[in-house]
């Protein structure tokens, strides 16, 4: 069964159709990348999925249940975790406290909050920094902490919004490793600009352009897709991409 399905989802900001009738299917267990040029509506689209924004039309189903009008906090309890594009952590609290706040609502109920927080930190490799104040961490570590908070929720679906932005090459490598690790028991949907990351991680890719879903397929299919090439590179004047 598909984990997440959207039907004709749309979002308007005044006259602007930021997301325009998207039919999207996410399969359980995959790593799915959402790509597209700047301003394509990627962040808006995932914000609709996790409930940070209200949609103007369409329906969303998660695990077969309609969640279209469910408040964000409730979707998190259902198993949809979201990590912010602009790092949003608790800078005045320790790394451990940051993750413990998330672990308190973990889908995994059998372990104590402390134990779960510890596991999540271990999974992302931050366990040695757990007593540090989060605001004092290096930027790369803050990004990882952001993901750790998502992981600590033990979600069924983890949505990552441009997780590698601002990371160094080595950090990106470690990051990909970590995502594969997380993917063992979590479906991952990631918005990403770095094509190397996309091609190495994603099993399937969806491409948004001007609020519309223009292609969905495997990395090879997407690379060969003319519409996608046109969206990214533009078309020669007078020539129409088909």
């Amino acid at each position: 069964m598909s984990l997440l399905v959207t039907r004709q989802v749309g979002k308007r900001f005044g006259g602007l159709k930021a997301v325009d009738g998207v039919d999207f299917v996410l399969e359980e267990g995959e790593i799915h990348a959402l790509i597209g040029p700047n301003g394509a509506g990627k962040t808006t689209f995932v914000s609709l999925l996790c409930g940070r924004l209200e949609l103007t039309k369409g329906d969303i189903y998660f695990n077969g249940e309609e969640i279209t009008n469910m408040p964000a906090w409730q979707r998190v309890r259902k198993g949809i975790a979201y990590t912010f594009q602009i790092t949003s952590i608790y800078p005045n609290l320790t790394v451990f406290q940051n993750v413990a706040i998330a672990a308190q609502h973990s889908k995994e109920m059998s372990l104590s909050v402390e134990k779960q927080a510890h596991n999540a930190l271990q999974k992302v490799g931050l366990d040695e920094l757990q007593e540090q104040e989060a605001g004092a961490l290096a930027y790369g570590h803050q990004r990882v902490l952001e993901v750790a908070m998502g992981v600590a929720l033990a979600p069924e679906l983890l949505i990552l919004d441009e997780p590698t932005q601002g990371l160094s090459d080595i950090e990106i490598e470690q990051f990909c490793q970590m995502i594969r690790e997380v993917n063992r028991d979590t479906t991952v949907l990631l918005i990403e600009h770095n094509m190397q990351v996309v091609m190495s991680l994603a099993e399937r890719i969806s491409v948004l352009d001007q609020g519309r879903l223009i292609a969905q397929g495997t990395p090879a299919e997407i690379q060969a897709n003319a519409k996608v090439q046109a969206a990214y590179l533009g078309t020669v004047e007078g020539e129409n991409a088909t």
Partner: protein, 318 residues
């Protein structure tokens, strides 16, 4: 020693300290410390919302006076017994907190301050408007029958200063214990999360509105507990207790002692009370002294005394 044990020992020591203090204090100071302990309960209730949840209410006098009038009026007009009236006062405050919360918590920041301030003003005006029952500014003195009561086979006389002192101490210890349990557990963690980053907290599965409503209701109930006890112990209720000053005082106590700590408001209440008491012996401009203290505090101890202690020495302080 684990952190939990350390803080349990520290807080017990403070209660024992107050317990022993009654054997050395002269009559006048016995009365002062009784008042301080009740006001500290008020400050701790306020601080649960301000220090832990990050919501600055400028209208907590309404909850204090809800307790005071809930208890006082039911004793005066309905002849209720002291324990019943006391509980009723607390319930009045909790209910008011819940209802105000439903409206005021739709706002944040400055708007929340103004909305709570306005509701407190309304409460004050309601008390004055119903002068027929409340005697407004002039207030009511509790009838002589309400100066003693029996509970659990014991007789309590509220005219006896030592009895009053120990009852106030009991309420202080109870409040400390309640707040201690609340802030150390899951609930406390969610309050701090809201204080630090509410939008993130929502995205971690917290129904932040409901949690804030719960915090406000408990905070109001503790403030009402203080007001209720104040009315019954000192046998007087008056509209001056619903004044803006009684909304600001717990804020000053919390800031001085350290917002977001349990002992901070207790220390703050004690210090501020005696500062004013001592300064007023020498000058009529005693508020100037408190003003200067606050300026120094903001400059050098922005987190208050216990906030500074926690930051520099004991990170385990709850």
């Amino acid at each position: 020693m684990s952190n939990g044990l350390k803080s349990a020992v520290l807080h017990t020591a403070v209660v024992v300290g107050f317990l022993l203090l009654q054997y050395v204090l002269p009559e006048y100071h016995l009365l002062s410390v009784t008042r301080i302990m009740l006001l500290a309960v008020f400050a701790m209730g306020f601080n649960l919302l301000f220090g832990y949840t990050g919501l600055l209410s400028l209208g907590h006098a309404m909850f204090f006076s809800a307790g005071m009038y809930g208890a006082g009026l039911s004793v005066y007009h309905l002849g209720w017994s002291v324990p019943t009236a006391f509980i009723f006062g607390i319930l009045c405050g909790a209910l008011l907190g819940f209802l105000i919360g439903l409206i005021a918590l739709r706002t944040t920041g400055v708007a929340f301050m103004i909305v709570t301030l306005m509701f407190a003003k309304v409460t004050y005006l309601v008390i004055v408007y119903f002068t027929q029952y409340t005697r407004g500014d002039e207030g009511l003195v509790m009838p002589a029958e309400s100066r003693s009561f029996d509970l659990f086979g014991m007789h309590f006389s509220l005219t006896d200063s030592v009895t009053r002192y120990n009852l106030a101490l009991g309420l202080l210890a109870l409040t400390m214990f309640i707040v201690f349990l609340l802030v150390r557990g899951r609930f406390g963690r969610s309050l701090i999360a809201i204080r630090e980053n509410e939008s993130r907290t929502k995205m971690l599965g917290y129904n932040t509105f409901f949690i804030k409503l719960k915090a406000l209701t408990v905070s109001a109930a503790l403030s009402a507990l203080s007001g209720s006890a104040y009315a019954l112990m000192f046998a007087y209720i008056g509209s001056s207790f619903a004044n803006i000053q009684y909304s600001i005082d717990p804020l000053l106590y919390s800031l001085l002692g350290g917002a977001g700590t349990i002992l901070g408001p207790v220390f703050g209440t004690f210090t501020m009370f005696y500062l004013i008491d001592i300064a007023s012996e020498y000058t009529s401009a005693y508020l100037l002294v408190t003003g200067i203290v606050l300026v120094i505090l903001v400059l050098y101890f922005p987190r208050g005394v216990f906030g500074a202690i926690r930051q520099n020495f004991c990170r385990w302080l709850p």
